[in-house]
């Protein structure tokens, strides 16, 4: 723990420095003039709607809306966060080594390899997910292999299962995990590792004591950028899952057109947001960094 606090504290310091950057404008209102259109847009179409969502979620029943929603959907709520957690952990297990190898062994191909990581984003989200449907289809390549190996019995498929949904969630947000981790490892001072080696540290120990702590901000950002969209998703569950994989997003998606003002639906979205925000804060405390990127 003491080893992680040093680099983190220095980052916080550099952030403070950055907030004071820039010059005092010649006319005091110049910066406000520049930010006004964008800030107004965010205020009217992002901040105010969040408050109106909060107000709606309290209509009719007040706070009891929330307890109704939680008791009615407890399975779905738990499932949502379990899926998002597994997908995030899987993305770390696949993404961290990938980012590490690109940053440390990529050489002059670094940028090319990084571009390849982003390439899936050039195919629309829905089509990417449909490709998973092709891959996991009964009689498709993955199912055939698993049949011949004997992991699945002959009449078993993958589509509709939690596995299909979580695998595709992992896949769809993996680049969001790789990129920030890559950035934090890439900008690390390599001489620290040489110093560790000079002081007779094994590579594994040097990784644990130097690289890993220094890559925590990237890991933190990657975890948020993966977990948040995974927890709010309904596309993967709808296209690849079944009734047993329904997530919070699916409930919102199924009902938003029918009853705009159903307070329970607002309460459910508000709760999703609140749990994530609380999670972010707790997670930031545990990792000891307040920086997002």
């Amino acid at each position: 723990m003491t080893t992680t606090s040093a680099p983190v504290r220095s980052r916080r310091f550099s952030k403070k420095e950055e907030d004071d950057s820039g010059v005092h404008p010649r006319r005091w209102f110049t910066p406000y003039l520049l930010i006004a259109p964008g800030a107004l847009w965010l205020l009217v179409f992002f901040i105010i709607p969040l408050f109106s969502l909060g107000r709606l979620s309290l209509e009719n029943g007040g706070l009891s809306n929330f307890s109704t929603v939680i008791s009615d959907n407890s399975t779905v709520i738990v499932r949502t966060f379990v899926y998002a957690t597994i997908a995030t952990v899987a993305a770390i297990i696949i993404g961290y080594p990938l980012a590490y190898v690109i940053a440390t062994k990529g050489g002059r191909f670094k940028n090319l390899l990084l571009a390849l990581v982003v390439l899936p984003f050039f195919v629309t989200y829905l089509v990417r997910t449909l490709s998973w449907k092709i891959l996991l289809y009964d009689g498709g390549p993955v199912v055939s292999i698993l049949h011949s190996v004997g992991i699945l019995s002959d009449n078993q498929g993958i589509l509709g299962s939690p596995f299909a949904v979580v695998a595709a969630l992992t896949y769809n947000f993996l680049p969001f995990m790789v990129l920030p981790i890559y950035v934090s490892i890439e900008k690390m001072d390599r001489r620290l590792l040489e110093a560790a080696a000079d002081l007779y540290s094994s590579p594994a120990r040097a990784f644990r004591r130097v690289t890993l702590p220094l890559s925590l901000p990237g890991l933190f950002a990657g975890t948020l950028l993966t977990f948040i969209p995974a927890a709010g998703d309904f596309v993967n569950s709808e296209l690849l899952g079944s009734e047993r994989t329904v997530m919070i997003g699916n409930i919102i998606e199924k009902n938003f057109g029918k009853e705009f003002f159903r307070p329970e639906l607002s309460a459910l979205s508000f709760m999703l947001m609140a749990i994530i925000l609380i999670g972010v804060i707790v997670y930031a405390r545990i990792l000891g960094t307040e920086e997002l990127a």
């Binding site: 005092h24 930010i35 390849l116 289809y137 969209p229 296209l239 919070i248």
Partner: protein, 280 residues
């Protein structure tokens, strides 16, 4: 443990690490390769999920399903307007945050990051409640509003990161030498910020084409390309979807290569200029 033994362990470790990274790339690429390959499939039924046989039919008749074509055109229209608006608004915010000190800067920074910590379904649904309260019918306008809302954050963040550390005194120098505000902007500011702005604009265009959840919740009866696919999933999934996706993929890759190539050339000419007369 002997030195040779630990060397072997180390080598095995390194090889398995690289093998794992290769697996990561395979994982990332397989669905993309599948998308491309299945554009050459002639599906047996209405759904292009199972390989039947090789065919160029979908490529020869890409516009067969007019609703799909119309949706793609609509998506491109939306993306164009959103890119224009979000790039302007976001660039102004990013510039103000890099160039000036002002009171609300910390707050603004937080507001810009907040959309990134919010699930799309929450942002989309809360915006929808606003539109319903205001009794606005959903369509082109509400889609643009929704997409600009989440895009300005990306633009402001990108521009801010790319133009940090520039020497803004060049603007003052230009003014001192008698250049008017417009001329200063055209000759100094714009060339300085252009690469960052272009990068942000391309990102916005891609985000706009790609976005589904927020757009879907605020689209009413208008269909973007992703929404049309979502609607089609119950009735038919033709190979034309893959044809369009493959084409967009190829175009995006070519655009990205062009931008990288331009950047290299620019860098080279800058290097050339720098190696000429010694900089101050």
């Amino acid at each position: 443990m002997s030195a040779a033994g630990s060397g072997l362990v180390r080598r095995i470790g390194r090889i398995s690490l690289i093998a794992w990274a290769v697996f990561g790339f395979v994982f990332l690429f397989t669905p993309i390769v599948v998308t491309v390959i299945y554009s050459f499939n002639e599906p047996a039924g209405k759904y292009n999920y199972v390989w039947n046989r090789f065919s160029l039919a979908a490529w020869q008749d890409p516009f067969k399903y007019s609703e799909l074509t119309d949706a793609l055109i609509f998506s491109l229209k939306v993306a164009f307007v959103v890119t224009l608006l979000a790039t302007i608004l976001g660039t102004l915010m990013g510039m103000a945050m890099v160039k000036y000190r002002f009171r609300a800067k910390g707050l603004l920074g937080a507001v810009i990051v907040l959309p990134l910590t919010m699930p799309e379904v929450v942002m989309g649904f809360s915006l929808l409640t606003l539109f319903v309260t205001l009794n606005w019918s959903r369509g082109f306008l509400t889609i643009v509003i929704a997409q600009v809302m989440f895009s300005v954050s990306y633009v402001a963040t990108t521009v801010r990161a790319r133009i940090r550390g520039f020497d803004w005194r060049l603007e003052e120098a230009a003014a001192d030498l008698g250049a008017g505000p417009l001329r200063t902007f055209g000759r100094i500011t714009l060339p300085l910020i252009a690469p960052g702005v272009v990068a942000a604009a391309m990102l916005t265009f891609a985000l706009s084409l790609d976005d589904f959840i927020i757009t879907y919740l605020n689209s009413g009866l208008e269909n973007t390309f992703p929404i049309e696919i979502w609607n089609l999933k119950r009735s038919r999934v033709p190979a034309q979807i893959n044809v369009f996706s493959t084409s967009l993929l190829v175009i995006s890759v070519l655009m990205a290569l062009l931008v990288i190539w331009q950047g290299r050339r620019r860098q080279r000419s800058l290097d050339g200029a720098a190696s000429g007369p010694a900089p101050a």
